[in-house]
C-alpha cells in the first residue's frame, strides 16, 4: 500500500506515504494513541541514550521520565482548568501546591518533636483531604477580591500571593509561632520530612529496606536484584508511577466531564467574553470563584502527589515561581483548553525539555576527551572549540533553560494554539454534531 503512490492528487483522503505516517495519522485520531505514541518515542530515545549502561540504568531513567511526565501532567491539567478553560491567568501555582503538601505534612506528621517539625499525627487520607481543602481555601482568599482585576494584574496578585506563601513557610518566626499556638511546625527553611509513601509499604514491611512483603518478594525476585537485576528502589518507584497514572486518568476524566458540560460551557463563555455570559444570566463571579477553588484543590493534590512522595519538602527552591512557569510552559505546549493537550504537554515538557537536555548533555560529555575549563571565560580565552563544547556539555542545565525560553517564544510567535494546534474541545454533555430529533420535514 505504502508504495502505491497515487498520481491522482485530487483524492481527498490520500493513502499515507509510509507505515510510520500511517501510525502517526492513526495516533492523531485517538487521544490515548497520541499519548501512548509520545511516551513510546520518549522511551525509545531514553533507551538509546542509556542502553550501554545496562538494564538498570534504562529502567531507572524511564522511571524518572515517567514520574516527571505524570506529575507535570497532573499540574498541567489543574492549571488548564484555570487558564485554558476559564482564562484565569493564575501564576501562583507553586504557592497552592506548597499549601497542599505542607498542610498534608503537618496533618500527618507525628506530634513528637523528636522527629523534626511536629504534626497532628492523623491518617494520610485525612492529610490529603486537608491539603486539598486548604489549597482551595487559599484559592478562595485570592479569588474573592482579585477576580475583577485585569488579567495581568490578577497574574501579579497570584504571583505575589505565592511568594508570600513561600516566604512564610520559609520563615523560622512562623515556624516558632505555629509551634507555640498549634503545637505543629513547618521546619522553616530546612523544610519537613514527608510521611512514608504507602506504596513503599506495599513492597516492604514498614517500609524498611531488606524486609520485603510477599508482593515485594515476588516482584524483587523476578525483576529486581534477585532476577533481572533492576534496583528495588526503582521497582518501588514504578509502583508509585502506577498510582500516579491512576490519578492522571482520574484528573482527566474529572476535567473532561467538567469541561464537557453546561458548567464547562459557562467557563468557556467567561474566557471568551465575560459581559456576554453575564448578560445571559450567568453569575460570572460565583462561577469564577468555584472554578478557582476547584483548580486550586487539584493543584494542592498535585503538589501532594509530587512533592509528598519525595522524602523532604522545603520552600526553596522547590516552590519558587519558576515551578509555576514550567507548568505554564507545559500548558502552552499542549495548547491551552485541551485536556489531552495538557497531558501531552506535561509529558513532553518534563521528558524532552526538562530532563532530556541534561541526559543528552551528559552522554555527549562522555564522548569528549578533554578537561572542562573551570569558567566560561577560560573556555572562551582558550579559543579551543573542544574546550568550549566540553564547557557547554558540562553546563547543560542553563542551556536547557535557554532552550525552554526559546521554545516558549517560538510557540507564542508561530503556534499560539500550542504544538498540537487547534484542539478546542466541545463543551456539551452530548455530541453536538448529531441530532436526535432527526431531519425536519419542511
Amino acid at each position: 500500500m505504502s508504495d502505491a503512490t497515487a498520481p491522482d492528487d485530487t483524492m481527498v483522503d490520500r493513502e499515507p506515504d509510509s507505515a510510520l505516517a500511517a501510525v502517526l495519522a492513526a495516533a492523531k485520531r485517538s487521544d490515548l494513541g497520541l499519548v501512548v505514541l509520545t511516551l513510546g518515542l520518549i522511551y525509545l530515545g531514553a533507551t538509546l541514550l542509556t542502553f550501554t549502561d545496562g538494564l538498570n540504568s534504562v529502567v531507572g531513567l524511564l522511571r524518572t521520565l515517567t514520574f516527571l511526565g505524570l506529575v507535570y501532567a497532573l499540574s498541567t491539567l489543574a492549571l488548564n482548568l484555570h487558564w485554558g478553560y476559564t482564562g484565569l491567568f493564575n501564576i501562583g501555582v507553586a504557592g497552592f501546591m506548597a499549601i497542599g503538601v505542607y498542610t498534608m505534612g503537618i496533618v500527618v506528621r507525628s506530634p513528637d518533636p523528636a522527629f523534626g517539625p511536629p504534626g497532628f499525627g492523623l491518617p494520610l487520607p485525612v492529610g490529603i483531604v486537608a491539603g486539598m481543602a486548604m489549597a482551595s481555601l487559599f484559592g478562595l482568599i485570592a479569588a474573592l477580591p482579585a477576580l475583577r482585576l485585569r488579567a495581568d494584574y490578577f497574574a501579579i496578585v497570584t504571583l505575589g500571593l505565592s511568594e508570600i506563601i513561600r516566604l512564610t513557610l520559609q520563615s523560622s518566626t512562623f515556624d516558632t509561632a505555629l509551634r507555640e499556638t498549634l503545637g505543629v511546625g513547618t521546619g522553616g527553611g530546612r523544610g519537613m520530612g514527608m510521611p512514608q509513601n504507602p506504596v513503599r509499604g506495599l513492597f516492604l514491611v514498614d517500609g524498611r529496606a531488606g524486609d520485603p512483603t510477599a508482593l515485594g518478594a515476588a516482584v524483587f525476585g523476578t525483576l529486581g536484584e534477585g532476577g533481572l537485576g533492576i534496583s528495588n528502589n526503582i521497582l518501588i518507584g514504578w509502583g508509585y508511577i502506577l498510582v500516579l497514572a491512576v490519578f492522571v486518568v482520574a484528573f482527566y476524566v474529572l476535567l473532561e466531564r467538567l469541561g464537557r458540560s453546561p458548567f464547562g460551557r459557562t467557563l468557556k463563555a467567561i474566557r471568551e467574553d465575560e459581559l456576554v455570559a453575564d448578560s445571559l444570566g450567568k453569575n460570572v463571579d460565583l462561577i469564577k470563584i468555584k472554578v478557582f477553588m476547584i483548580g486550586c484543590a487539584l493543584m494542592g493534590l498535585a503538589g501532594i502527589l509530587w512533592f509528598g512522595s519525595q522524602g523532604n519538602v522545603s520552600p526553596s527552591p522547590q516552590f519558587e515561581p519558576i515551578l509555576t512557569f514550567y507548568i505554564f510552559v507545559a500548558v502552552i505546549i499542549g495548547g491551552s483548553g485541551s485536556n489531552t493537550g495538557s497531558v501531552l504537554g506535561g509529558i513532553v515538557f518534563a521528558a524532552v525539555l526538562f530532563e532530556g537536555p541534561r541526559r543528552v548533555g551528559a552522554v555527549l560529555r562522555d564522548t569528549i576527551d578533554a578537561p572542562t575549563p573551570p569558567t566560561f571565560g577560560d573556555a572562551v580565552a582558550a579559543a579551543d572549540p573542544v574546550g568550549l563544547l566540553a564547557y557547554a556539555t558540562d553546563n547543560i542545565a542553563p542551556l536547557q533553560f535557554v532552550l525552554l525560553g526559546l521554545v516558549l517564544i517560538f510557540i507564542m510567535h508561530r503556534r499560539p494554539d500550542g504544538l498540537l494546534g487547534d484542539r478546542i474541545e466541545t463543551a456539551a454533555a452530548v455530541d453536538l454534531t448529531r441530532r436526535e430529533g432527526g431531519e425536519r420535514d419542511e
Binding site: D278, L280, G281, N283
Partner: protein, 281 residues
C-alpha cells in the same frame, strides 16, 4: 419558540399570538420611571420615563449623545442608575446585576455582535438557557446525577437546532462563531438571546453592518416573534426600519425624552426634526 415558523408569513402566526396573550402577565413588560444617570457631574440621562407594551416593537432613537446607550445600560444593569426605577413585569429590577436581570427575563444583544468566537454556533446557543442542571459543577461530574444532565442537554440541543432553523443559520451549527460573517453573527446573537426564554428583548442596533437581504430576514424574524408574544425594545439608527416597523417610537435628545408616538407623529414633529438636523431647541 415552541413553533418555529418555517413559514415567514405573519398571518400564519395567529394562534401563537393568542397563546402568548395568555401567558403574558397583565402588567407592562417594561417600564422606566424617572431614570437618571450622572457620570462625575455630567448628566447623561435626565429623568427618562417610558413604557413598553406587551408584544410590541418599540423604537428608541435620538441623535448621537442623546443618552440612548446609557438608558440601555441602566435597564440591563451594566450601570446603576443615579435615580429612578426600572420595572420588569411590575417588579423593580433597578440596580440588579446584569445576570440577575437576565434571569428575570430581560435579555439584550450588543451593538457590535459579541459572539463567543472559540465556541461553535451550537455551543453559543446552548450556553444561553437558564437554570441548566449541568451548570452545577457537582452534577456534571458525579456519575449518578450526570444522567439528568445528559437528558437535558439532548432537549437543549433539539431546541438549539430549532432556533437555528428559525433563523436559517442551521447550516452553520458546528462552525466556530468567530468564523461567521458580520450579519450571521447578528442572527446568532438574536438566536442566543431567545434561547434564554426572555420576556423582553433589548436589541442594540441589530442591523448595523447587516446586508439588505439579511436585514429583511432579521426583521421578519422579529415580526414572527412579536406575534408569539415576545416584546422588543430596539435602538436603531436606520430610520427606515424604525419608521416602518415600530408601532411606538421614543425619541431621546440631550438625556431626555423629546417625543413619543407613532411613526407619522414622529416624522412630522418639528422638535424631532430640529433635534436631528442640529438646531438648538
Amino acid at each position: 419558540m415552541s413553533e418555529p415558523a418555517a413559514d415567514t408569513d405573519p398571518e400564519a402566526a395567529d394562534s401563537p399570538v393568542e397563546q402568548a396573550a395568555q401567558r403574558t402577565p397583565s402588567g407592562l413588560p417594561l417600564r422606566v420611571d424617572g431614570l437618571r444617570k450622572e457620570f462625575g457631574g455630567i448628566t447623561a440621562v435626565d429623568g427618562v420615563s417610558f413604557e413598553v407594551e406587551s408584544g410590541s416593537l418599540t423604537g428608541l432613537i435620538g441623535p448621537n449623545g442623546a443618552g440612548k446607550s446609557t438608558t440601555f445600560n441602566c435597564i440591563t444593569g451594566v450601570h446603576e442608575p443615579t435615580a429612578g426605577d426600572v420595572y420588569l413585569n411590575g417588579e423593580a429590577i433597578t440596580g440588579l446585576a446584569p445576570y440577575e436581570i437576565a434571569q428575570r427575563g430581560l435579555v439584550r444583544t450588543f451593538q457590535i455582535a459579541r459572539e463567543l468566537p472559540e465556541m461553535t454556533v451550537l455551543e453559543n446557543l446552548m450556553l444561553a438557557p437558564k437554570n441548566q442542571q449541568g451548570e452545577s459543577a457537582l452534577r456534571s461530574v458525579l456519575p449518578g446525577l450526570r444522567g439528568g444532565v445528559v437528558d437535558q442537554e439532548e432537549q437543549l440541543r433539539e431546541r438549539a437546532w430549532e432556533t437555528l432553523e428559525f433563523f436559517e443559520i442551521d447550516h452553520l451549527a458546528t462552525e466556530y462563531a468567530g468564523s461567521l460573517s458580520g450579519g450571521q453573527r447578528k442572527l446568532l446573537e438574536m438566536a442566543r438571546a431567545l434561547m434564554t426564554d426572555p420576556e423582553v428583548v433589548l436589541l442594540d442596533e441589530p442591523l448595523a453592518g447587516v446586508n439588505p437581504t439579511l436585514e429583511e430576514k432579521l426583521l421578519d424574524r422579529v415580526d414572527d416573534l412579536r406575534a408569539e408574544g415576545y416584546t422588543f425594545l430596539l435602538v436603531e439608527h436606520d430610520m427606515d426600519v424604525i419608521m416602518h416597523h415600530c408601532e411606538h417610537i421614543i425619541v431621546m435628545h440631550q438625556g431626555q425624552v423629546l417625543a413619543e408616538g407613532g411613526a407619522e407623529e414622529i416624522r412630522t414633529n418639528d422638535r424631532v426634526i430640529e433635534a436631528y438636523l442640529g438646531d438648538d431647541l
